[in-house]
Structures are given as C-alpha cells and as structure tokens.
C-alpha cells in the first residue's frame, strides 16, 4: 500500500500537467463578451475631422477588424476581408491600430479598402478598452451594439465560412 503512494502522486501530477499544459496561456478569453461596445470618441482614418463613436456599431450586425500597416498577418487576412466586403454580408468596420495615417492610407491604396468606416486609434485608447493584445483581431457586435464574439488572429476563408458567418447570420435574425 505504501509503495503505491509515489505512483499515485506521480499520476496526480501527470494529470495536472496533461490538462494544464494543453491550455494556451496566450489565448486570453475576452472579458467583454455580451457587454456593450465600450464608449469611445476617435477620428476617421481618411477624415480627421469626422468623430466616430460607439454609435457606429449600433443598428446593424457589425464586424470590427483590428489591423495596422505594420501587421504582417494582416496581409494574409486582407484578401478574405475584400471578399467579405464584396459579398456585402456584414457591416465591416476597420480599426487602424498604432499606425500612422499616411502609412495606413498607402497600405490600403495598394490592397483595396474593404471597410465602410475606419477608426483611427494610434494611441491604443480603444484597443486597451477592448482588451486587444495583437492584430489582427476581430469583434462581432449585434444590432444593439453588444459584443457577441471575438476572434483572435487571421480570419481564414474557412473560419469565415464555418464560424463567423453562421454567427453573423444568427445575430441578424435576432
């Protein structure tokens, strides 16, 4: 019986590691799911005089996409966003994060602009309020302006088809 004690302990520790180590600590769950989109007041990327507030995300289901001209993965994601814009399946809002206006404009001029509106957040004011840790990151809000889903990383055609689009369709029916 005594001899089984170390074995028991070993199994216990092994189990704890087996569960603990498969969880990615970088995957921070969003605290903001089912919370209203935070209040903010920032300018538009192309029009410095236009003030954008949280009202922009209200009234229709929106996809808010965090990007930046410095963000390498955003290059990969961009064609997918162009396709989404072409299909007009969702109100697509961009959030240009920690960027310079000129660089962002050049980046979009080269690749095309899929966004209806672009929030310019050069000092992470909205990014921190949204708990953003990297780009690209995307949020889906419902018609009342509540955040319902957060996707960290690139939106691939598969993720769009199998995860995001069904969520958007369901929210549109609410």
């Amino acid at each position: 019986m005594r001899a089984l004690l170390p074995l028991g302990l070993f199994i216990l520790i092994g189990l704890a590691f087996a569960i603990g180590l498969t969880k990615d600590p970088r995957q921070i769950s969003s605290e903001l799911i089912n919370q209203p989109f935070p209040a903010f007041s920032l300018t538009e990327l192309y029009d410095e005089t236009q003030i954008i507030t949280e009202e922009t995300v209200k009234g229709q289901v929106s996809l808010i996409n965090v990007f930046g001209s410095w963000c390498v993965a955003c290059n990969v994601e961009h064609p997918v966003l162009m396709d989404i814009a072409k299909g007009e399946q969702v109100h697509l809002i961009g959030m240009d994060w920690r960027d310079e206006r000129s660089k962002a404009k050049r980046w979009l001029a080269k690749r095309g602009n899929p966004y209806k509106t672009i929030i310019f957040d050069d000092e992470s004011v909205l990014a921190i309020t949204l708990g953003v840790t990297g780009a690209p990151e995307s949020f889906i809000t419902d018609k009342s302006g509540q955040i319902r889903y957060k996707h960290v990383g690139v939106i691939t055609p598969q993720i769009w088809r199998e995860t995001l689009l069904p969520i958007i369709k369901a929210l549109e029916e609410e």
């Binding site: 600590p25 970088r26 921070i28 769950s29 969003s30 605290e31 903001l32 920690r98 000092e123 992470s124 004011v125 990014a127 921190i128 309020t129 949204l130 708990g131 840790t133 990297g134």
Partner: protein, 126 residues
C-alpha cells in the same frame, strides 16, 4: 462681508491644492500600478519593465486615470475588466486559484505531520 468671502476663497483654494495630485506622486503611483500589471503581449514582464508599444500605451493610460483621480485599485480593476485575471501579475485568491495559494501550506503541514510521526517512532525505539 468682505472678510467672509476672503475666508471662503482661502478655504476653496486650499482645498483644490489638496485635491490636485502632483506629477511626482502620479509618477510614483503609476510605477507601482505598472509593476502589478502584466504586459499582455510579452507574457512575463510587467508593463513597467516592458518596451513593447502596447505596454507603453498602457502606462500612458494608467497615468491618465491616476491624474483623473482614480485610486491604484481602481486602475488595476479597470485593466482586469478588459484583459481578465491574466493582466494581474499577482493572482487573486479565488476558487480557481485556491490550489495555487493553499497547496504549499497543506504540503508543509503534511510534511510536519510525517516528521513528527517518524520522530516519535524513533524516540520510542531508542
């Protein structure tokens, strides 16, 4: 009547000078708050030590909120509401961290128990 107003004025101005916190104080408190917040893009550094751009923006926000009159705890709370427990470098004591906080003490107790048991046995034998 004039003396009355001058007294009111003196009191009013002294109050505002109390309410205003100095830059040095904000700086010291921002450092303290910064040391307890994890830089969310660099895993195991506080935002006070990190060179990451996001950490620098988070430091700015901490300063701004302190200047606007938030307490240290309120600023940390604000960050926790956005980034979750992950942003806290010192894990809070709550159900999912009981094992983390109390297991070492439990193990110590077990070790003491075992030690006394063996010691008593050794004493009885000699």
């Amino acid at each position: 009547m004039r003396w009355f107003f001058s007294i009111v004025l003196i009191i009013a101005t002294s109050f505002t000078s109390f309410a205003q916190i100095t830059d040095a104080e904000v700086e010291a408190r921002a450092k303290e708050v910064g040391r307890s917040l994890r830089c969310v893009v660099c895993q195991n550094q506080s935002i006070d030590e990190s060179d990451a751009p996001l950490a620098s923006d988070m430091r700015k926000l901490v300063r701004k909120r302190l200047k606007e009159g938030d307490s240290n705890a309120e600023v940390i709370d604000y960050m926790q509401q956005r980034y979750g427990d992950y942003v806290l470098l010192k894990p809070p004591v709550q159900t999912n961290t009981y094992a983390l906080w109390f297991l070492p003490f439990l193990l110590l107790l077990c070790a003491f128990g075992w030690f006394f048991k063996v010691a008593r046995k050794a004493g009885a034998e000699s």
